[in-house]
Amino acid sequence: MKRIARPGRWLIILPPLLFLFIFFLIPFAVALKISFAETAARVPPFTDVLTTGADHRLHLSLSFANYKYLLTDQVYGVAYLYSLRTAFFSTLICLLLGYPMAYAISRASKSAQSVLLFVIILPFWTSFLLRVYALEGIIRDNGLLNNVLLHLHLISRPLHIMRTSVAVYLGIIYSYLPFMVLPLFATLEKLDHTLREAAADLGSPPWRVFSEITLPLSMPGVIAGSMLVFIPAVGEFVIPSLLGGPDNLMIGRVLWDEFFGNHDWPVASAVAIAFLVLLVGPMALYQYYSAREFEA
């Protein structure tokens, strides 16, 4: 607002800016610092990177051992690739399931639309942990799914889903589906439907109208939804921990174990930093440039 004097403005800007700077951004700097430290048997369990010696000058002792360890120990590479693969295919399935859902909602009448949206949003806010736990009740060996299938004589022995990759996939799809549907709906709803009608009037069959008009125009929603599913899914901890087996090592679980099991904070920091650089960095850059393009 032009009429607020400049110093007054900063009273409003600074509190959130400073708070998020200190409690969201600085932590990453601290993690970066500790990723160069070494494990030590003390509290907190790592060596100082910056020390003041007897001559009152700052000494910097960087150790790259943690990063070397990440590169040499196979667990991290395997877990990282497994996380990427799992997140990729779950995102794909979410997209294949979520797109028709969002499309159907966008074509419903206005009053049906708001009810349907609410139906999608409600689980979006419902406890993540509890929903994963609820899913376990469905897919475990003596759960509802197996009972129904056995009852219908479709299978003769219970399907073993828990503690497998399938359970992890189901968990991610079930938990993140609303994150895909909502942004897709937001773009599909804004889509100018006269374009579709024009194409149909000019003789395009429905599949061509979809593939040449609707789909390209809804790409922003596809990208936004995929990012909202993909990034958190790569770092997912609760789902592989509760539904997956010992083989389903996702990077989030490795981090958790490194921290709470091995108490190796420097290695955990290095894993976190590497994860950030390899995954969130490129995504953030992409977001930044697409936002700039949007503003231009």
């Binding site: 607002m1 009429r3 607020i4 403005r9 800007i13 959130p16 800016l17 708070f19 998020l20 700077f21 200190i22 969201f24 951004l25 600085i26 932590p27 990453f28 601290v30 993690a31 399931l97 499309y103 159907a104 074509r107 009448s109 206005k110 049906a112 708001s114 349907l116 806010w125 419902t126 406890s127 993540f128 942990l129 509890l130 736990y133 609820a134 899913l135 376990e136 009740g137 509802l144 799809i173 079930y174 609303p178 439907h193 990012m227 909202l228 990034i231 958190p232 770092g235 901890f237 609760v238 509760l242 989030g252 981090l255 958790w256 921290f259 904070w265 920091s269 976190a272 953030a284 977001q287």
Partner: protein
């Protein structure tokens, strides 16, 4: 809009919604199961709910979670509103891009990364400043950080659609910017503040990963207790607890939705009246 949904589209929509709801409904149904065997229906009973009332660990954790939720969502609404005002009303300023980034990043950042880095910060701060001790304070600070992001996004969209000319008219009539904001803009965005408070509360009540990292000894939130119980296996009293939480959160979300919708409708009616 045309309502020409093909049966196939409707079928996928129904399947999707069924996938989202069946597990929750089954969980709630089984929380009334008299049998302690989780896969056998032994008749209707509310015994598991009664048992929860005598579980001190659960009650203490629930109390802590509610306290954290209140503190965190109040803090987040304050900070998030200020951030939204800065981003919508102040044009370009130094640090704007930084603020946009810090408001949007927590929405996609994997929780485990946020949790680890915040723990490291708190540990380093404790070394340097002897504050804060891990427990209630650190959980609240960490929750404020991620809830602020959600509040900012909600309030931002509300501010964007609010009519600037009302505020300007008030200032033309001699109100100070602060007074114009409090008497004109605040009532307009109040529903967004209430609904974002409720949503922050549910987010805070829900959080497992970040809390697990930044919490200290003896400060277990409800999700932490549930997680450790679930790790040990499915048990009927978790079903009861889970059903209670899901209903509480559902009520919060429905309330937030109703508040938003009602004010939206009132605004439309007022617009129509003004046009007449």
């Amino acid at each position: 809009m045309e309502n020409r949904n093909s049966p196939l589209l409707l079928a996928v929509l129904c399947i999707g919604i069924a996938i989202l709801y069946i597990p929750i409904l089954v969980l709630i149904a089984y929380s009334f199961n008299a049998s302690s065997l989780v896969n056998v229906w032994g008749g209707f009973s509310t015994a598991w709910y009664g048992q929860l009332l005598h579980n001190r660990q659960v009650l203490e954790a629930a109390l802590l979670s509610v306290e954290v939720g209140f503190a965190a969502s109040t803090g987040a609404v304050l900070l998030g509103t200020l951030a939204a005002i800065s981003l919508i009303r102040f044009g370009r300023f130094r640090g704007r891009l930084l603020l946009i980034g810090m408001v949007n990043a927590p929405l996609v950042m994997p929780e485990i990364i946020t949790g680890i880095t915040q723990l490291l910060l708190f540990v380093s701060m404790l070394q340097l400043l002897s504050w804060p001790h891990r427990g209630f304070t650190t959980i609240v600070l960490a929750h404020i950080a991620f809830c602020t992001a959600y509040v900012t996004v909600t309030v931002q969209s509300r501010l964007q659609s609010a009519d600037r000319s009302l505020e300007e008219a008030a200032m033309d009539l001699g109100a100070s910017p602060a007074r114009a904001f409090i008497e004109v803009t605040l009532p307009i965005i109040a529903p967004a503040l209430l609904s974002s408070w409720l949503l922050s509360f549910t987010l805070s009540l829900d959080d497992l990963v970040i809390s697990s990292f930044v919490s200290g000894p003896g400060a277990d939130t409800l999700p932490m207790v549930i997680y450790s119980k679930v790790k040990l296996g499915v048990s009927p009293d978790i079903n009861a607890l889970a059903s209670l939480i899901i209903c509480a959160v559902g009520a919060c979300v429905i309330l937030a939705g109703v508040v938003m919708r009602r004010t939206e409708r009132r605004r439309l009616l007022e617009l129509q009246a003004a046009e007449r």
